[in-house]
């Protein structure tokens, strides 16, 4: 996964300026910022509010409503485990415990060495090939504990 650029308010301003003409621009702007910096820095809230002529409270409300937007930088690799019903039927609850143990981090957390963030996600749309896992935007199916370890080993993440 490409390393995200460090937060820079000038770049953020450019990103916002480039998209503010869109109808309902808030989400496209937030996506662009998170794609750029890996998270949505609190400092962008007043910038977006100014650009769209909305209150800071409104923008803060939007950022915090959606699960997708992160308030802090993620690890170098983002590992999302599906925990929806189809994956539950194929043992994703056990896979969650295994993943937490293998990565040494609880769901929703980032490893102390910053190598990985482990998240739960509700449905990756791979329900006939459960359990499903997404790593840095790439989908993986039929991920049992052994396959999970292989995938993590491929990323070079130590125990």
């Amino acid at each position: 996964m490409a390393q995200s650029a460090p937060f820079d308010p000038e770049i953020a301003r450019d990103v916002i300026t480039g998209l503010k003409h869109l109808p309902g621009a808030t989400l496209p702007i937030l996506h662009a910022l998170q794609d750029r910096f890996g998270y949505v820095d609190a400092a962008v809230v007043p910038l977006i509010a100014d650009a769209l002529n909305l209150s800071r409270a409104e923008i803060h409300g939007v950022v915090t409503f959606y699960h997708h937007f992160r308030a802090a930088p993620a690890g170098a690799h983002v590992i999302q485990l599906c925990h929806a019903e189809a994956c539950q039927s194929m043992g994703c609850r056990e896979l969650e415990r295994h993943a937490e143990a293998r990565l040494g981090v609880a769901l929703g957390g980032t490893r102390a060495d910053g190598r990985a963030t482990l998240d739960a996600v509700y449905c990756l749309g791979n329900c006939a090939l459960s359990p499903a896992v997404m790593i840095d935007g790439e989908l993986h199916g039929r991920v049992d504990a052994a396959r999970f370890d292989e995938l993590i080993d491929e990323l070079g993440i130590r125990r």
Binding site: P23, G24, A25, T26, L27, P28, L30, H31, L52, E58, G61, V62, F65, Y66, H67, H68, F69, A84, E85, A86, C87, Q88, S89, M90, V121, Y122, C123, L124, G125, N126, C127, A128, L129, S130, A132, M134, G137, E138, L139, H140, G141, R142
Partner: protein, 521 residues
């Protein structure tokens, strides 16, 4: 040179190695000095066979699967590029019983064409429906859709034609077509499959809707969990626009129709149409009160058609083959076909498009061949996280909107999730409440607070705390949520809970004399 080789580029196929297989085929062909033409198609929907590689032969396309990259050298040894015999050969793809018995209307091209090739789309009947629609008046188009009997495939089953007529008759300077591709239900992947396998069908369906009601702008709201589908669909919009099929003029003769794909941000509630509109407007995805209906005051306050992706992608075939052709499939008031997504703990999961009326038993036992784990079947959840859990005794229920309503279930978006005997239905019921609590937009009290209280009460019941009283309380709470919630999230969460309680009461009673199979594990 032999026929073309097809290796899917669908995200599900990629998730089990289709990308590596494609690379291995290219490498092996180069090594052997064999010229091949590889097409990256969508999936046929037989997902247990993925990666499913196909080769074109004079007799038709021959399938091999599931192929691992390690199998590729052996496939070349067997001259698979000419359809040679091999242990992984499945014969002619369209003769595979799972596929052959389907009635592919909405997904007719999916898995067959190169998803982004406009030539391929045209060669397989693409744009015929739109061309026909362009010769009709708006009212005539709406009448055709009404005659077809098409009902919303997102879950509510509302007649599509009636929704369109409302927008057609609403006077406004601007109208919108919004496609709901926020496919959040577990067990469903039809929207994703279509966007990745036949994206122009959706574009064509939306263009027909736009021409019908006089909308010049469309949005497709795609969930952020589908980055692959989003990229494919964006490319499809760019190519269709560049080719002049949409944009300033539909097919060069029709009115303007501009289309834009927008990304959601991980909120299940945004699959609810008014919440989706709020999100498109750049706001928190709070559900709106109805009325006004979105058809009257929708996106940015303008008349808006909000349809599920499958509904919109079904529109072209209705115009290509006629409303009567489509209506002749199905049963009762459920006309046409339903792309069923068979998922979870099932041996042969995939997308099965069939006329309404097939029973759950035929699906699970015949198509699915039982559980993936090989353990006994115990429950099936139909319709996503808000759908009911059914036991074996209800497996003869036909897939039909009304038949499901009669047994207190719903078809939803057509997701069928199978569970074996290790499932704990009390745990599933608790999850349903917790999910509702997590995803509630917070606007109405029954959903926002009821879900949290519901999870607590189920926990107490499981722990054996005042079971009798708490069961009464849970029933009361569920009824309140059913009757008092603003939208389907709070209003349907009681479905999985009450069905689990009704059909699997033992799971809620840890003191029961005979422990269920899972408790003994």
């Amino acid at each position: 040179m032999s026929g073309r080789i097809f290796v899917p580029i669908d995200a599900a196929a990629l998730s089990v190695g289709a990308g590596r297989v494609a690379e291995a085929i290219a490498r092996e062909a180069a090594k052997r000095g064999i010229a091949i033409e590889m097409v990256r198609n969508g999936t046929r929907g037989m997902l247990w066979l993925e990666p499913l590689v196909e080769v074109e032969t004079p007799a038709g396309r021959v399938a091999y699967g599931p192929v691992a990259s390690a199998d590729v050298a052996g496939l070349f040894d067997a001259d698979f590029q000419s359809g040679g015999a091999h242990a992984l050969s499945l014969g002619l793809t369209e003769e595979i019983s799972y596929f052959k018995r389907q009635q592919r209307l909405t997904f007719a091209r999916c898995g067959i064409v190169d998803p982004l090739s406009l030539d391929d789309y045209r060669a397989h009947g693409g744009w015929n429906g739109l061309e026909k629609a362009l010769t009709l008046t708006g009212a005539e188009i709406v009448e055709q859709v009404t005659q077809s009997g098409l009902r919303g495939r997102g879950g509510a089953g509302f007649p599509t034609g009636i929704k369109w007529r409302t927008v057609l008759n609403a006077p406004a300077d601007q109208k919108y077509i919004v496609c709901n591709a926020d496919e959040g239900d577990s067990g469903t992947f039809a929207d994703r499959m279509l966007m990745e396998g036949d994206p122009y069908a959706l574009i064509e369906g939306m263009a027909i809707a736009a021409v019908a009601v006089g909308a010049t702008q469309g949005f497709v709201y795609i969930r952020s969990e589908y980055p692959h589908a989003f990229r494919t669909f964006q490319t499809a919009i760019e190519r269709a626009t560049a080719a002049g099929l949409i944009g300033p003029s539909v097919m060069g003769t029709g009115p303007a129709f501009h289309l834009e794909a927008r990304l959601g941000a991980g909120a299940y509630i945004c699959g609810e149409e008014t919440s989706l509109l709020e999100s498109l407007e750049g706001k928190r995805g709070l559900v709106r009160f109805k009325p006004p209906l979105p058809a009257i005051e929708g996106l940015f306050g303008k008349p808006t058609i909000v349809n599920n992706l499958v509904s919109l992608a079904t529109v072209p075939v209705i115009f290509e083959k006629g409303a009567a052709f489509y209506r002749d499939f199905g049963m009762g008031r459920s006309r046409g076909t339903l792309p069923i997504q068979l998922a979870g703990n099932v041996k042969r999961g995939g997308l099965i498009e069939l006329a309404f009326g097939i029973t759950l038993r035929e699906l699970i036992e015949d198509y699915g061949q039982g559980t993936a784990s090989g353990r006994p079947f115990r429950a099936v959840q139909v319709g996503g996280p808000l759908g009911a859990y059914f036991p074996e005794s209800l497996l003869d229920t036909p897939l039909d909107y009304e038949a499901f309503a009669a047994v207190k279930g719903m078809l939803g978006h057509g997701g069928v999730v199978v569970f074996d005997d290790q499932v704990d239905l009390a745990e599933q019921a608790k999850f349903a409440m917790e999910f509702c609590a997590e995803e509630s937009c917070g606007k109405c009290t029954p959903c926002r607070i009821g879900s949290t209280r519901g999870a607590e009460v189920i926990e107490k019941i499981i722990a054996g705390e005042e079971r009798g009283k708490n069961l009464v309380l849970l029933d009361d709470l569920c009824n309140l949520m059913l009757d008092g919630s603003l939208c389907a999230l709070g209003g349907l969460t009681p479905y999985p809970v009450l069905s689990a309680l009704k059909h699997f009461p033992d799971d809620f009673d840890r003191s029961a004399a005979v422990p269920p199979a899972h408790a003994a594990e």
